[in-house]
């Protein structure tokens, strides 16, 4: 019998429970592990051009990541790419083995300049590419 570490949620028997939903932790399962949290602001103009900023992670592989944007009152997960009658409205994050690239593009014709802040977490988990 192999050794393992398991921590059950309140009300569940760690000795018999097999549903991972009822465990807080189990050494049978990998976990998402983040090591870097941060934010970066992209200044952009509503002119159809692509505006970017990069953050180096330097992991040598493409990692799991999560990014949110703060857009008005609320923050939410990206990407957000919508094409409507008014035009394009794109907010994206891309990863390669070295960097995260934060990209904004909008062509709704106002010509107005804005800034938007991305809030990211970079994980050590290797996507295996």
């Amino acid at each position: 019998m192999s050794n393992k570490i398991k921590i059950a949620k309140p009300g569940y028997n760690v000795l018999t429970e097999t549903n991972p939903d009822n465990l807080i932790f189990s050494s049978d399962y990998n976990t998402l592990k983040y090591y870097l949290s941060g934010s970066i602001t992209v200044n952009w103009t509503d002119d159809g051009n692509l505006y970017t900023q990069t953050v180096a992670h330097n992991l040598g592989y493409i990692p799991f990541f999560i990014a949110f944007i703060q857009d008005g009152l609320y923050s939410a997960i990206v990407p957000e790419n919508q094409q409507t009658v008014a035009g394009r409205n794109y907010r994206n994050v891309y990863a390669d083995a070295t960097n995260l690239t934060f990209a904004v593009q909008q062509n709704q014709g106002t010509g107005v300049s804005h800034s938007i802040t991305f809030f990211y977490k970079i994980f050590k988990n290797n996507l295996g590419l």
């Binding site: 050494s27 399962y29 990998n30 998402l32 703060q70 990407p79 794109y90 891309y94 977490k121 050590k124």
Partner: protein
């Protein structure tokens, strides 16, 4: 003096010798932080309404919201984003007090949410009431004897860490003008669970697959944004068996590599 560490290797790996973090459930040599769940729940929202799910953390936490796409099937779910600025039919956003979920469709929809203590936008001191006996690992410089702030910890036995049940990879060849594609996600649960998906386009850059929005929210290659190519596909949804992708237009066939994580937490 060597730093004290805790390493919990996955089955088949040697905790003493292995250095690949993907072979560990817990690896505290550095601040490799496990996300820590605050609460999960569901809300049935009638058409034209929104609901505030109070978290009161003082910052915007990491959160996921999924919508039950009953117009597709009883077990079809998709990640939900903001989109309210473009009048998306449903949306989810967070502020320092609430997660707000809205339904602008013509019918009632069920949403499921997962809120974590991990701060995503901003920060504020948070205190939890700990169990009498706990197992916890603090970040570098933290006094575990005194801190009760979840954001000070790599791991805390009072707080669920989402477990990765399956990590998959497949290549989809988009090769027709407009078509639906699907592939098995291999969740061991046999029921729909939380799935986070990424896509690597031919230009080598990878993006998270877009949340399911209406108007259509698509995943676009970085080269697409640069005007180099037109590679893009619609966002995804999933059920208890498959991940589904719709591609509205393919001129020249190309491959996209999909990587997905099935996380514990049945939806």
């Amino acid at each position: 003096m060597a730093k004290n560490v805790i390493r919990v290797a996955l089955p088949g790996y040697d905790a003493l010798d292995d250095t690949n973090l993907d072979h560990f459930a817990l690896y505290t040599d550095e601040d490799n932080i496990l996300i820590k769940e605050k609460e999960r729940g569901q809300s049935s929202i009638t058409s034209g309404n929104s609901v505030d799910i109070a978290h009161n953390l003082g910052y915007v936490p990491l959160f996921f919201v999924f919508v039950n796409l009953t117009s597709i099937s009883a077990n079809a779910w998709a990640l939900v984003g903001l989109g309210s600025i473009l009048s998306s039919l449903y949306f989810a956003g967070g502020d320092t007090s609430n997660i707000v979920i809205g339904n602008l469709t013509g019918g009632t929809l069920t949403f499921k949410y997962f809120i974590f203590y991990d701060n995503q936008v901003g920060s504020s001191a948070v205190t939890i009431t700990e169990s009498q006996n706990v197992f916890k690992v603090g970040k570098s410089g933290i006094n575990v004897a005194t801190s009760k702030d979840p954001n000070d910890y790599i791991f805390h036995s009072d707080l669920n860490s989402l477990k990765i049940l399956y990590q998959g990879k497949t290549t989809i060849n988009f090769n027709s003008g407009s078509a639906d594609y699907s592939f098995a996600h291999n969740s061991p649960l046999g029921s729909t669970s939380v799935i986070i998906c990424f896509a690597q386009f031919p230009d080598g850059k990878l993006t998270q697959v877009a949340w399911y929005g209406t108007p259509s929210n698509s995943a676009k290659s970085y080269s697409n944004l640069q005007g180099i190519d037109g590679k893009a596909f619609d966002s995804m949804y999933f059920d208890e068996t498959n991940i589904y992708i719709h591609n509205v237009g393919v001129v020249t066939a190309y491959n996209v590599i999909f990587i997905w994580y099935v996380l514990e937490a049945s939806i």
